[in-house]
């Protein structure tokens, strides 16, 4: 009857990863039955998120889970949650600061390290670059790349771009970006069109393509194929994505996509639920009590690691969102 | 400075549009305190000349002198500032706003407080009321213009033009949608104005009016002024001759048709779904009969025929064609029953402005009879052009080509084009709502002849007309309506002005009697 209610605010249901995490959380909650979960979609809009936060507090939730878009207002949100006295979990987003954690005891973070996904891309390309001297197609000694951005104001987009290049530079590779910020809005068709245009001009220069998600990477691959690439070994160009979506994994198998990384949505869903479950049962949240593979607890911060997925370990990319065990 | 002889002088004005030289070195002079009539066939260039004075068009060459001073008028605001007001031939009102706002738009009375112009609603209403009283107009100042009938809108336009206290008032066919009573009213207004020294430029196709009201008449033909004469030296025949360029002895064709005995269209107890409109109207019209409908403004004649044609809903009544009851829910049904309706407002429900003259003419035919213009799967343009060209010729529609978009035609020529559309489907029952509105005398005669010819072929014609001579001259019988009721049916040959006017206001009389 009077089950505790958890209100979850996701940034965008149209995002495959979010959708799967959401579904997984709902499945786990339903199977377990200790905590009831209700959720809302911010539609990729900060104002809507603000409205949803108020809505959740008005519903009188006991747990509040926020897949935060508004990374500049973390402290404000923490203060609001504190005033409401609701246990709050930031999910899959930028971390609240140490002061925020000091400020509010019932504050938690469950997230992957977004930076890892960037690093995975950068490292994979660095490896390819070392192994393939011909990868410098115009022989200018620089790695000329295209960077496909999602939405510029997204924390994830920003860190993925930043850390992938960082990883290259850490490996001692000089880089050169072609075509400025190419904002394809996580959209496959847009990426395909934009890469086609760039390719028509810089076809002999491009050495690698980084993309903030798999969809854009696949769009880029389509464009590359149309431009005569991926016919054989010689016409391979490293393209990297993030998310390990089903179609992305297909591309890995086809040998077109170089690397992607999995942020396991089921793990996120489970970790969120398990955290609430532990709190509800007055248990401490530790790596052991949580008991999920690849999930580490650091104080009130719970980290889920990205898994790099390449042709060699495609099976690691699969997950079952109906898996309700935790 | 001594008063110049003319208040307005236009010298050597020319204006071209693609394909037409609308004005060709026109000289035109207007004296203060006089009514100067401007006449000419449809498309002669009258409206264009006036639009040049009012700053809506800019002449290619020539100059405009007002009160002895050459001025350039770049927009209507300028013209108004120079004391020129205009009643437009085609202008629609500001439909979503009240009558009083329509009158004072652009110079609504206000109180300036803190630099803000606050509308003085009281003054707005009072000024309007005073103006209406002065002009003997009975329109509710609060009524939305969109709910007024076209004649009421026309009266609004007149009131507006008067309210400017202008030195020159241009009236472009002010009476084309007025009944005689209102025309009388307008003339009284004009007399008052000229007494104050206002110059009136009066455009009309109604020669009787011109002879009655004007002191001078200028006649245009093909973009040129062919002369200016004092009115008392003119008579109808002379004007017609100068306008048309040939003799025209009769205004109406000789009556050649004879109504048959058989009844073609009958309506029984027709009652509008709108409670304020017509009630319980019954009449029958025979084959080969021209059936006139007369009445004052607001008699609901338009609503009645629109209901017959399926444009409006009725709450009660039935319609019989050739003795068989028919249900008509839409114009489509009506057309399938061989009816045609020339509507009153050509701008709102007549022309397809973006279509060429040709397409406007063939529109109904090609919709109603899909096979007719088809050549294989597609439309046969040759056939369509031929049909359109035929009517352009027959109705002397003045247009650069049949491919010209209809919105570029003069008002009268648009009217003729819409009429041609209905003629083309050769209807059994032709309903005409003010058919000769804005049409020049020469063409009027053509249209009357056509009506005669159709009636002679046994077709049925119903004609609403506010022009008494036309109503009396053409109809076999005249039904007169008053405030939504049928107050009587007169026999054409014996009907007179007085009888019609009596019936047109009879319902009111009866009601007054009853109330007493």
């Amino acid at each position: 009857e009077d089950k505790p209610l958890a209100g979850v605010v996701w940034y965008n249901f149209a995002d495959t990863f979010i959708q799967n995490a959401r579904q997984s959380l709902l499945n786990v909650a339903k199977a377990d039955g200790t905590i009831e979960v209700t959720d809302a979609d911010s539609n990729n809009d900060v104002a809507t998120q603000t409205n949803n936060i108020n809505n959740m507090f008005a519903q009188g939730v006991q747990y509040f889970v926020l897949n935060n878009l508004n990374t500049a207002a973390i402290s404000d949100i923490v203060n609001q949650a504190k005033a409401e006295g609701v246990t709050t979990i930031f999910a899959n987003t930028d971390s609240p600061s140490d002061e925020d954690f000091a400020n509010y005891d019932d504050l938690y973070l469950v997230t992957s390290r977004a930076t890892e996904s960037g690093t995975i891309m950068g490292e994979a390309v660095a490896k390819y670059w070392e192994e393939h001297p011909e990868a410098d197609r115009n022989q200018n000694g620089k790695l000329d790349y295209i960077m496909l951005y999602g939405f510029t104001w997204h924390y994830d987009t920003q860190v993925r771009a930043e850390y992938s290049i960082q990883a290259l530079e850490d490996a001692g590779i000089t880089t050169n970006r072609i075509g400025g910020e190419i904002i394809a809005e996580y959209n496959r068709g847009k990426a395909q069109e934009m890469v086609a245009a760039l390719l028509a001009n810089y076809s002999d220069d491009i050495d690698a393509i980084f993309s903030a998600n798999d969809d854009m990477a696949l769009g880029a691959i389509e464009a590359l194929k149309a431009g005569g690439f991926f016919k054989d070994e010689k016409t391979f160009i490293p393209v990297c994505g993030v998310d390990a979506t089903a179609v992305g994994v297909d591309a890995l198998k086809d040998g077109t996509l170089l690397v992607t990384s999995l942020n396991n949505p089921v793990k996120l869903g489970k970790a969120i639920y398990k955290t609430m479950w532990l709190l509800e049962n007055d248990q401490e949240v530790t790596t052991e009590t949580l008991g999920l593979d690849g999930v580490e607890v650091e104080g009130h911060r719970i980290w889920i690691s990205y898994t790099a997925i390449t042709k060699d370990n495609v099976d690691d990319a699969s997950y079952d969102i109906n898996d309700a065990a935790f | 400075m001594k008063d110049p002889e003319y208040i307005l002088e236009m010298k050597n004005i020319s204006k071209s549009f693609p394909g037409v030289k609308a004005l060709d070195q026109v000289d035109f002079f207007v004296r203060p305190g006089k009514v100067h009539a401007l006449m000419g066939e449809n498309g002669a260039g009258k409206s264009t000349l006036m639009k040049c004075v009012f700053g809506m068009y800019h002449p290619d060459e020539g100059k405009i002198i007002i009160d002895g001073q050459t001025i350039s008028i770049i927009n209507p605001r300028d013209a108004l500032d120079h004391g020129i007001a205009m009643i437009h031939q085609e202008l629609q009102s500001i439909r979503t706003r009240s009558a009083m706002e329509n009158i004072w738009v652009g110079r609504i009375p206000y109180n300036q407080i803190f630099g803000v112009r606050w509308v003085d609603d009281k003054k707005l209403y009072n000024d309007t009321k005073a103006l209406f009283n002065d002009l003997e107009i009975s329109i509710d100042p609060y009524a939305k213009a969109g709910t007024l009938s076209s004649s009421q809108c026309q009266m609004l336009e007149i009131a507006r033009a008067v309210s400017y206290n202008a030195k020159i008032i241009i009236m472009d066919e002010p009476t084309s949608s007025l009944t005689e009573t209102e025309t009388e009213l307008l003339f009284r207004i004009i007399h008052k104005l000229t007494a104050k020294g206002v110059a009136i430029i009066y455009i009309s196709h109604k020669i009787d009016e011109i002879l009655k009201i004007s002191q001078e008449v200028s006649i245009m033909r093909d973009g040129k002024i062919i002369g200016t004469w004092p009115s008392d030296e003119l008579n109808t025949d002379l004007i017609v001759k100068r306008m048309v360029g040939r003799e025209m002895n009769n205004r109406f064709p000789a009556k050649s048709h004879q109504p048959k005995e058989s009844i073609c269209l009958e309506i029984r107890h027709f009652t509008s779904a709108n409670r304020h409109s017509f009630q319980d109207i019954s009449f029958s019209v025979r084959h080969g009969e021209i059936f006139g409908i007369g009445g004052l403004v607001g008699a609901q004649r338009t609503e009645l025929v629109e209901s017959i044609f399926g444009l409006r809903k009725i709450s009660n009544g039935e319609l019989l064609i050739n003795g068989n009851p028919v249900l008509i829910h839409s114009p489509e049904d009506a057309i399938q029953s061989n009816m045609a309706l020339l509507t009153e407002e050509r701008r709102a429900s007549g022309i397809i402005p973006r279509f060429s003259v040709m397409e406007n003419v063939v529109l109904t035919k090609q919709t109603a009879n899909k096979a007719y213009y088809k050549k294989g799967l597609f439309l046969d343009n040759n056939k369509r052009s031929a049909d359109a060209a035929h009517y352009v010729q027959a109705f002397s529609i003045k247009t650069p080509s049949i491919k010209t978009e209809i919105r570029y035609l003069s008002g009268g020529n648009q009217q003729k084009t819409v009429l041609a559309r209905w003629m083309l489907i050769n209807p059994e029952i032709l309903i005409l709502d003010e058919p000769t509105r804005g049409i020049d005398v020469g063409t009027k005669f053509e249209i009357y002849s056509l009506m005669e010819k159709m009636a002679g072929e046994g077709k049925t014609i119903i004609m609403i007309s506010s022009e008494m001579p036309e109503l009396l001259g053409m109809s076999d019988r005249i039904a007169v309506m008053c405030e939504g009721h049928l107050s009587g049916i007169l026999d054409g040959p014996t009907a007179t002005d007085e009888k019609v006017m009596y019936l047109a206001s009879s319902y009111k009389h009866e009601e007054e009697v009853l109330n007493k």
Binding site: N55, N70 | N75
Partner: protein, 334 residues
């Protein structure tokens, strides 16, 4: 008197369809979740509607004057970012203008309105002077504004990050309240009243309506149509600017994506509230209700926990039903 009876029942239903549906909706939501009938919910809904109301009011000027305006959303975004960049604490770690001192509250507000005005005047100029159809004119200006916004946001040291770290006074403007009613609700109501007075009580208002209803008639009556269009676009721009500033204050941050899609919501609310795409009609109260209806739907459906997918479906259907019933008042034979 059969007609009389019909009158009282049917008449009310036809003429107040929108309100009746709104009431039914609220009742239905309340039945599913009784907590919905609380002051807090009312306050939330009013608060969420506030910036939308201001945007819709701006949009209403344009619709009434007979144009369309697609620049609303992106103007809100640009204004939010500019206001935000001028309202940061001096010790915020990625301060947008590192050398700028802390500003009094008036500066960001003023800057936001100013940028709104500039965009509005550009819209007006392109529409009224260059004669570009308003749809395209405002679309293009919107593109320029959005591009400018992204460039601005991308300036070092900000690098496209959301702007945050606002001054207390600024955040207070968006979240604080007086007598338990948020400041921004007062501001929205003030904007409505101002607009109501401007449109109905001043000459300017009457001229705007006249231009919208029949531009040609207005022109030949001596109204300076160009001026009226410039003024309406400027007023609209000012509304958007103000809304942008409040949006930043309310959410405590600002990104270049702020306001995305607000223009469509605003146009939709205006039409639900009785404005016409062809100009010349509309009343402030109707638009106010229009915005409220949209926000009640959004809030209510989330409140009862309907999944976002179903929300789209249900929202679409509610609008169809509500508006088609409401439209019957215009389709009576009279």
């Amino acid at each position: 008197m059969k007609t009389k009876n019909n009158f009282s029942l049917q008449y009310i239903f036809i003429n107040y369809a929108l309100y009746i549906i709104m009431a039914l909706m609220i009742l239905a939501i309340g039945m599913m979740s009784p907590k919905f009938f609380s002051l807090r919910v009312l306050r939330d809904i009013l608060m969420q509607s506030s910036t939308r109301i201001i945007v819709a009011m701006g949009c209403m000027y344009i619709l009434v004057s007979g144009s369309a305006d697609l620049s609303g959303g992106r103007t809100v975004g640009l204004a939010a970012v500019i206001a935000g960049s001028l309202a940061q604490k001096s010790d915020y770690y990625i301060k947008f203008w590192p050398n700028l001192p802390e500003m009094p509250l008036i500066v960001p507000i003023f800057a936001a309105i100013l940028i709104g005005l500039i965009i509005g005047l550009s819209n007006g100029f392109v529409t009224a002077k260059l004669k570009v159809p308003s749809f395209l004119a405002t679309l293009s200006v919107m593109m320029v504004a959005y591009g400018a916004n992204q460039l601005y946001c991308n300036k070092a040291p900000n690098n496209s990050q959301p702007l945050g770290g606002f001054l207390k006074t600024f955040s207070e403007l968006g979240t604080g309240s007086f007598l338990n009613i948020p400041y921004i609700v007062y501001i929205a109501i003030f904007v409505c009243i101002f607009q109501f007075i401007l449109l109905t009580k001043t000459c300017l208002g009457r001229e705007i309506f006249a231009c919208g209803s029949n531009q040609e008639a207005a022109r030949v009556s001596g109204i300076n149509v160009f001026k009226i269009q410039m003024v309406t676009f400027a007023l609209a721009g000012a509304c958007y600017g103000l809304a942008g500033c409040l949006e930043a204050a309310r959410t405590g941050s600002a990104t270049s994506n702020y306001g995305n899609g607000y223009e469509m919501d605003a146009i939709a609310s205006c039409i639900v509230g009785g404005c016409s795409m062809t100009g010349g009609v509309g009343n402030v109260f109707g638009v106010f209700i229009g915005v409220l209806i949209f926000n009640i739907i959004n809030y209510g459906l989330t409140f009862i926990g309907l999944s976002s997918y179903w929300q789209w479906v249900v929202k679409g259907l509610i609008i169809i039903v509500a508006v088609s019933l409401d439209m019957r008042k215009y389709n009576k034979e009279n």
